[in-house]
Amino acid sequence: MTEQDQKIEALQDDGPLEPPHSQWKDVWHQFRKHKGALIGGSFLLLVTLGVLLGEYIWTIDPQKLDIRNKDVRPLYTFLWDSGAKVQWAHPLGTDNLGRDALANMIVGGRTSMAVGWVAMILALSIGTTVGVIAGYFRRLDGPLMRFTDLVLSLPILPLLLVAVTLFRDPLRASFGPETGMFILIVGVVGITSWMQTARIVRSEVLALKEREFILAARSIGTTPGAIIRRHLLPNVISPIVVSATLGLATAIITESALSFLGVGFPPDFPTWGKMLADSVPRMDQYPERVVLPGMAISLTVLSVNYLGDGLRDALDPRIRGR
C-alpha cells in the first residue's frame, strides 16, 4: 500500500480519518488473516451463547426421567437406519433413563465452560499479580520466584486428586453439593496453573522496566501502582491473553479428567466430561453419547487453541505485518 493510495482513500471518506495504524486495528487486521483463529473465535462465541441461552430456547428439564422414551437415537441416525428409534421431541436422543441429550449438553456445557472461564480468570489473576510484583519490585523477586518454582515442582495431578478428596466434604457442607464442588474444582485448577503465566509476565516486566518510557514515567514521579496499571499491564497483555486461552483449555480438560476418574461433580450433575465418562460402557451401541460430549470438549478446546494461536500472531508486533 503506497502513500498515494492512502491519500485517495482518505479523500473519499466522509468523516475524519482515524489515526493511521492504531494498534488494535492492526491486531484485528492480522487476526482476521488467521482463518483458524477466526473460525475458532466464532465457534467459541457460539458455544458460549448456546450454553448460556440454550435453556430458554430448549426448555426440557435435563433431569426429567422418562423411562418410556429411553434410548432414543439422534435424528441423524435416521439417515442410514430407517428403523432407528428417533423422535422430533429429542433431536439428539435420550440416555438410558430417558433424559434429553440436548438439554443435558446445554446444562453440562454451561458447567464445563463456567469451570473453564472462572478457573482461567483465577489462574490469570494470580499469575499476573505474582509476575508483575516479582518483576517490578526487586526485593520480592527472589522469594516470589522461589515460591513459583516450588509450586512448579509439586506433582499436580496427584495433589489435585488429594485436594479434591480432602476438601470435598467441608465445602459440600457449607455450599451444597454443586456449588461446593464448583468452588473446589475451580479453586484447585486455578491455584495449580498460574505458574507459567507468572514466569512469562515476570520476564516481560523485567525487560520493560528498563525501557525509556518507564524511566520517564518514574522520573515525573508516577507512583509504582500507576506505572504498573498504565504502562506495564497494557504492554504485557499479549502473553497474558495467550496463556488465558491455554488456561481455559487446560481447565476444561482437567475438569473432565477429574470427572472421568470419579472425583468430579456429583452424579446427577451433568458436565461434558461426566457425560462422556458415563457413556463409555455403551460406546458401541450408542456412539453418539460418547461422540457428542467428546466432540463438544474437543471442538471447544480446539477453537480456544486456535484463538490463542491467532491472538499470539496478531499481538506480536514482530510477526505482525509479515
Partner: protein, 335 residues
C-alpha cells in the same frame, strides 16, 4: 557453571524438604480412612484394631520423622544392598504400603519397567514425529502442510486420552481384534515372536500418549524455528550463498533446538510419574495406576512416597534443563 550447579543443588535440598512436608501435611489433613474399603460386615472394633496396627495412633511429627529417615536413609541402603550384595539395611523398617503391607519401593521397582516401556517409548515416538512436523511447519508457515499440521497437533491437545483410549479399544481390540485390550505385565520378551506380542500390546497406549507429546513438542519446535528464521544471521547465511538446506537444517535448527531440548528435559519426570488416565484405560498398571489405587485406598505411605519421588524428579530435571540451557547457549552465563 559448576558453581551455579552446586549452588542450585544445595538450594534444592530445603526445597525438597519443604515439598515433602507440604505433601505430608496435605495427606494428614485428608479425611480419608484406610479402612474405607474394608466391607461393612467387619465390626468397628476390629477396624479400630487394624488402624492401630498401621501405626495411625502415633503423633504426627513422629510419623513424619520416621518417614524421612526411611526415605532418605534406609531406602538408599536397600538400593545399595541390592546393587552390591551388602547387608546394611537388614532388619531395618522400610516404608510399608498400608494396602499391601509390603515395601512401597519394591512395588515401584516392579512397576517401573512397564511404565518406562509404554510412557517412555511414547515420549520418544512423540518427539520423533514432532520434530520434523515442527521444522517443516515453521519453514512453510501458513502453507497447507502447516495448517494441517497445526490442526492435527491441536487435535492432540484437545482430545482427552479417556476419549481416544476407549475409542481405540473399541475399534482395534473389539471390532477388528488386532490388539489386546488388556496389557499383560507378565509378558517376557525373549525372542522375535514375543517381541511382536509386546509391540502389539504396547501400540495403542503408546499411540494415545504419543499424540499428546507430538502436539506439545511440535508446537514448541515450530515457535522456536519461527523465532530464529527471522534473525539476521539467517539472512547473512543466505546472503553469502549457503544452500538452503544447510541454512535451515544446520544454522537455524541448531539454535532452535536449545529451548526444545530443555522443554524435552522438563517433560521427563512426567514419564516416571506415569500417565494416570492412559494406564488406567489400558490396564498397564504402571506407576500412575499405582498412585491412583493408593489414593483411592487412602494408602498414605504409598501416596506420600510416590508423589515425593515425582517431585524429586521434577526438581532434578528442572536443574538439568537449566544447566543444559547454559551449556547449549553460550550467550547465557550464570553468575
Amino acid at each position: 557453571m559448576l558453581t551455579f550447579t552446586i549452588r542450585r543443588l544445595i538450594l534444592s535440598v530445603p526445597t525438597l524438604l519443604f515439598i515433602s512436608l507440604i505433601i505430608f501435611l496435605l495427606l494428614e489433613l485428608a479425611p480419608g480412612d484406610p479402612m474405607a474399603q474394608v466391607p461393612l460386615t467387619v465390626p468397628p472394633e476390629v477396624k479400630a484394631k487394624m488402624r492401630e496396627a498401621l501405626g495411625l495412633g502415633e503423633p504426627m511429627h513422629i510419623r513424619y520423622w520416621k518417614w524421612l529417615v526411611q526415605f532418605f536413609w534406609i531406602e538408599p541402603q536397600v538400593l545399595f544392598d541390592n546393587m552390591f550384595g551388602t547387608t546394611f539395611a537388614e532388619g531395618k523398617q522400610r516404608i510399608l504400603s498400608w494396602q499391601t503391607r509390603s515395601p512401597v519401593m519394591d512395588m515401584v521397582a516392579q512397576r517401573l519397567p512397564q511404565t518406562l516401556w509404554v510412557v517412555g517409548l511414547s515420549y520418544i515416538v512423540g518427539i520423533l514425529i514432532a520434530l520434523p512436523i515442527g521444522i517443516y511447519s515453521a519453514y512453510r508457515q501458513y502453507s497447507v502442510f502447516d495448517q494441517s499440521g497445526t490442526f492435527i497437533t491441536m487435535i492432540g491437545f484437545s482430545i482427552p486420552p479417556f476419549f481416544t483410549g476407549p475409542l481405540l479399544i473399541m475399534i482395534f481390540a473389539v471390532q477388528l481384534g488386532w490388539f489386546p485390550s488388556v496389557y499383560d505385565t507378565t509378558h517376557v520378551v525373549n525372542d522375535w515372536d514375543s517381541f511382536v506380542i509386546q509391540l502389539r500390546q504396547m501400540i495403542m497406549p503408546v499411540m494415545v500418549l504419543a499424540l499428546q507429546t507430538t502436539a506439545q513438542i511440535s508446537r514448541f519446535m515450530r515457535a522456536s524455528m519461527l523465532d530464529n528464521l527471522n534473525q539476521d544471521y539467517v539472512r547473512t547465511a543466505r546472503a553469502k550463498g549457503l544452500p538452503e538446506h544447510i541454512v535451515v537444517m544446520v544454522h537455524v535448527l541448531r539454535n532452535s533446538m536449545i529451548p526444545v531440548v530443555t522443554a524435552i528435559a522438563l517433560g521427563v519426570p512426567g514419564i516416571f510419574g506415569g500417565a494416570i488416565i492412559t494406564e488406567v484405560v489400558f490396564k498397564v498398571n504402571g506407576i500412575g495406576a499405582q498412585l491412583l489405587s493408593a489414593l483411592f485406598a487412602n494408602d498414605l505411605p504409598s501416596v506420600q512416597t510416590l508423589t515425593f519421588m515425582i517431585a524429586v524428579l521434577i526438581v532434578v530435571f528442572n536443574l538439568i534443563a537449566d544447566v543444559l540451557y547454559g551449556v547449549l547457549d553460550p550467550r547465557i552465563r550464570y553468575d
